[in-house]
């Protein structure tokens, strides 16, 4: 804003400018974030959002707005919210403009992680654990395998009584064997190598 004389020194800008416009470009160039440009900010995604019921700062509409403006500062301040999406898909499903909101939210979160705007959260840690479990166990997983891996990293969700209930059901039916040691994909080592190679490729649209 242009004001004459000393007034210029203490009138704050009333419009938001000076943000990093590359944020929008980067997110729109990812496969997941590609539909970010379609958003017209109606808020349909956010009004039905499961995560928002528990965290008032979780707002897909606002995340998209901030990312498109390039307001990294505000995204950074949302560190404890950005990762909370449950992937229930209501937002994507209901979006009247065809934004794949759930995908876009993850693209924004991934951008924030890559740029070091936010620290690694429990959700991402678990996702990485899941991928590791698939890779290390021959392309398949089981609930028990995943549970015990998660427990090793300090994420425990079962109470002792529930654990006993689960185990006794498994023992009674003889299911314990398959759950402890899931079958492996026969050609896994070859597939794994291709996968690891493919995972290095960053696919840009």
């Amino acid at each position: 804003m242009e004001v004459d004389g000393t007034w210029n020194a203490f009138i704050i800008d009333r419009t938001q400018t000076g943000f990093d416009t590359s944020v929008w470009d980067k997110i729109a160039s990812t496969v997941e974030g590609n539909t970010i440009s379609l958003c017209w900010q109606c808020g349909t995604c956010t009004s039905g959002c499961t995560a928002r019921e528990y965290d008032p700062n979780f707002s897909p509409r606002r995340f998209i707005d901030l990312a498109r403006k390039g307001d990294k500062q505000s995204l950074q301040e949302l560190e404890s919210s950005l990762w909370r999406c449950f992937s229930c898909q209501k937002c994507t499903h209901r979006c009247p403009k065809g934004v794949l909101v759930e995908e876009v939210v993850h693209a924004i979160h991934n951008y924030a992680l890559e740029e070091g705007l936010v620290r690694k959260d429990p959700g991402t840690k678990f996702d990485e654990l899941f991928l590791k479990a698939v890779m290390d166990n021959g392309g398949r997983i089981s609930e028990l395998l995943l549970g015990s891996m998660a427990a090793k990293y300090g994420m425990v969700s079962l109470s002792l009584k529930d654990l006993i209930n689960v185990s006794s059901a498994l023992l009674k039916t003889g299911l314990i064997k398959t759950v402890m040691n899931p079958e492996k994909v026969r050609n896994w080592e070859k597939i794994r190598k291709v996968l690891e190679n493919a995972m290095k490729e960053e696919i840009k649209l």
Binding site: T178, V194, L205
Partner: protein
Amino acid sequence: MTETYGKVAFYPGCALDGLGKPYEVSIQLVANDLGLKYERLDDYNCCGALEVKNVNTMAGFLLPARNLSLANRVKANTVMSACPGCHYSLSRTHYFMSKYVKVKDRVNFYLKEMGELPYENNLFMIHVVEFIRNAFGPEKLKAIVKRRFDGLKVAPYYGCLYVRPKQYLQTGYMKIKDDPERPVFMDELLQSIGAEPVQFEAKVMCCGGPHVYSDAETSMHLEARIIKEAVRNGAELLITDCPLGHVAIETNMTKIEKKYGVRISLVYFTQLLALALGHSPEEVMLDANITRPMDVLKKYLR
């Protein structure tokens, strides 16, 4: 309507070879009784669920794509999943591969390196509820029921990914796909064996699935909400078609009861159908259910 689906390949997914075994066993019993045919995919791999896609784009496409490629190898027209998570994953990959040529090219490049066939976007993805409902139908089922569950009040829980999002799963776009906000296909099947679906607005409510480990408290609250809605409307059993939701809710039941004062027993919908078709509780592996549905069901099983 079996013609609609052509040759059906069944993708079991890890859950059905794990804690969800009773689900698979009962699907098989029901399909045999109804004369529905499908081929179980051999040597499948994990679909990556909702986790892998968040940490690596290519792995998020390749894991499901390999399974689609396996279905092509057996010359299937349709891929059926029993786990909505798998159904979603496979459909998501199909969607991205048909929308972005670049994704298709890269995925097929790596499939070739694995020694698999390319995926040519030629398959139709369905869930087992849709399969039984469309290929056999509730009216015909009603006629062959051997053991009716008259008056049994049930709350059918479909889970998010059975219907959402429409872009991937095509729900609401055609008659053989369910209503995306208020699905009814499972209700229809349950009605035909005499059970009475109660009013239940949590049919497609989130169970907190992907965050059961990383955000346990919130997930448990979400699960309790589903149970409360069922109990509030007088349901005696929660009927599921999603092994992820089923296992998540069952394994947390003691904690939920302690904290929120509600509990309910869970049964896979195919377990109940198989019982209605005359099979024994042992055959449908009712013992593998961690909650105790037998307490409710025993009066019907005499």
